[in-house]
Subunit: 505 residues, 2 copies
Amino acid sequence: MINSLTPFVTYIKNFKILNQVRCASQVLPQLSSEKYNVKRKSFGIIEASDVDYFKTVLSEDRVLTDDNDVLPFNIDWIKNCRGQSKLVLKPKTTQEVSTILKYCNQKRLAVCPQGGNTGLVGGSVPVFDEIVLSFILMNKIISLDEISGALICEAGCILENLDNYVREHNLIMPLDLGAKGSCHIGGNISTNAGGLRLLRYGNLHGSVLGVEAVKADGTVIDCLKSLKKDNTGYHLKHLFIGSEGTLGLVTKVAIHCPALPKAVSVGFFGVENFENILRLYASAKSSLGEILSAFEMADNDSISSTVKNLKIPNPISDYPFYVLLETHGSDETHDSEKLTRFLEKEMESGLIIDGTVTSDPAKMQTIWNLRENIAGAGLIEGYIFKYDVSLPLRSYYNLVPLLRQRLGTKASRVYGYGHVGDGNIHINVVVPKYSQEASSLLEPYIFEEVSKLKGSISAEHGVGFRKPHFIHYSKDANALQLMQQLKQLMDPNGILNPYKVLPEI
Amino acid sequence: MINSLTPFVTYIKNFKILNQVRCASQVLPQLSSEKYNVKRKSFGIIEASDVDYFKTVLSEDRVLTDDNDVLPFNIDWIKNCRGQSKLVLKPKTTQEVSTILKYCNQKRLAVCPQGGNTGLVGGSVPVFDEIVLSFILMNKIISLDEISGALICEAGCILENLDNYVREHNLIMPLDLGAKGSCHIGGNISTNAGGLRLLRYGNLHGSVLGVEAVKADGTVIDCLKSLKKDNTGYHLKHLFIGSEGTLGLVTKVAIHCPALPKAVSVGFFGVENFENILRLYASAKSSLGEILSAFEMADNDSISSTVKNLKIPNPISDYPFYVLLETHGSDETHDSEKLTRFLEKEMESGLIIDGTVTSDPAKMQTIWNLRENIAGAGLIEGYIFKYDVSLPLRSYYNLVPLLRQRLGTKASRVYGYGHVGDGNIHINVVVPKYSQEASSLLEPYIFEEVSKLKGSISAEHGVGFRKPHFIHYSKDANALQLMQQLKQLMDPNGILNPYKVLPEI
């Protein structure tokens, strides 16, 4: 059952390889403030009396001030950002979070909320001396309604732990990520995490039933209903989904867990061109509809470099494009019949040139391994510029040939792969060595092109610390102004996760 | 396929019966301001110069001032509310909406946005002399991406027209309502309409891809992306979903349409007690998982009064409880096998005492007819107090026996039926004749009980004009304060749909 766990482990391993490559020449990442030339805002400076106060709110062991203890909270997962916090607080209750924020707001002390610290845009680590408010100890499961599938838990619960727990009750979490072994559900919600199950189980705005959140002034906003339907006034919980801890801190979560699928199958197909991938996707939606759980694509360069560089076998021959398709269903015989019929039909139509369908756990794992390892495969060949964008499906693959043309021989490889079902493509540009010339050919060009195509410059990773200055490519001036107004309303002193999400005015 | 259209027609017919009964003794409904003793707020008064201005913005035929022309816009669908507007404007473009609102905001002229005017809580009609801004002419379909399923259209498109359109492209709208023949998609989104497909296709916060909305000051907020994944800053569209036109007016919509199911089946079962309904629901979720599209319940009183009063046949015998279950799938043989196997298993287990399963359109229609006619069946017996609440599943049926006990012989019948899959129960209390005594036994008692059980006092109908003074039973003081602050931020002059949603401070 659900044999897709292994690839995620591989994915995490890839992150480690990535880190080693990036960090080979340095002990610690450069300070974010220096690397990105950011000026500290005029927040209060933490004094001994503040630390003493926090020790009265929390027990002493939950107030970290030792440099060695604090250091891991200052560095992000991909070791790209480093903050200068001197203080980590580990509340255990919503009331403690509220008391801390109320005090910080009064004293103008900036706060950086931190979940599992697996974000990829520097949103979860401080930039200067923000107090790190870690949710690591708010990890209790509060209740599970096995019939409705409503799980209520604290924000610091690790996604994989929740998934393991609900699986014992024949349910699954509605989202799945490479970082599932570390990321917190509160962080998932704060960043509106997408992941691999979105095509089938929808996004968090749909599956989150309720949240409890604390505003900058310590006010607790209790929208922790576990109801599927509730039309009593503004749907406030959405303010906290995807605002990356800048409007309030999520402390508790109610989320809908779908039924555990009883059968999983995987198909891997060779396809002639991208147009045929779109036709195949339409056909899969129609033929497999309710059991389709993933529809992934990769171009030839993605697969061939993974096969060559990482010695991972390709179960079929060499083709211009590939599709990985997964089904989650309640009846193995039915699902297998549907999938086989779909394969036969589309091989006859020519949309699929060659393919394999399997429900064998080991074989499914081999196929997922190939797909999931694409992310790290190019590293051996040099430096990779990586982009995570979403585009309307008809334009999904447009940028890859455009970039190939633009970069010419300056790029050793440009390839695209991703979640077709979600319109989310990962574009990797491999160059022999990092160069400013290649960088300036790519940026802001790629964001301009994404903007023209009405795409998103950040499909799933968020804005965080790294992308506020690019946000105007995806949000117009009126929307940005409304964002600023919301921030001003909910956090007038700007203490919550400063330097993140919102561009400087 | 999709033979469930007919019951909705019946449902609409029931509304007509309801109206006739309620309005038999009067030509026009009483003015809302008198009936509910509301005081006009200090908005500007429309002058001839204002009307002249609007005629320069719109063509003359789109500015209605004749009493007879304006009257239908003043009365709600169930003829419970009547406003006193003297002016209806019918913009055709977002720019016109923006120009109108900018002017109204400067002149402090109040505005009541109106879609299909099918709301059940008086939210879509004016209370005093608010200008009615009708979306009736903003009814263009802008684009449909057949592969991704992204439909983009103007807010005034009628839901059924959209559904018919996308069905030609093998897609369906992700929501379905009794009022589909009249309601506008913009109104659906503004009221976060739920409906019959929510269990399968999720809620609008999940399926709306983007909106374009106009703020009170005329600012256009363009979040009309048609992407499934977009994590670039605050998810502003959710401010407009379910805020009932009080924070901004939705002018365009991008929505995800799922694949048209190729097979539909319906099961109708007799069940011993409510506990067994919950067990059966858990079993159906597990066995039918991905094809389950509706799981409805009705108690004996619901069905027997419908059979008796409306002479609609019950395809099975008399049982304490009934379950109507529907599947939407991509393979009729598979779906039928799953459903039959489920039925056999649960008849053996005793959860189902008796039942029938059919894919025959006429038979499915008979079963849906029975379910959908419950709403109007009690009218023959006297006056009905109707409540539309949602509750955690374990407490779903709690209120029916509680109310039977509380009302005793004062009620001729208390019954419950609804969408178990969404936790949404409709509770009807039939009394021989309306009495204040019965009313005060019911309210606020029922809201207090819903509140204690962490339910919602309005599952799907919204707050509108009728429920702001009950909203505190579902929203705490901090949440209400945040609502007020959002209103103040986005509509400081309070011109958008006044007297609605927000309680008086």
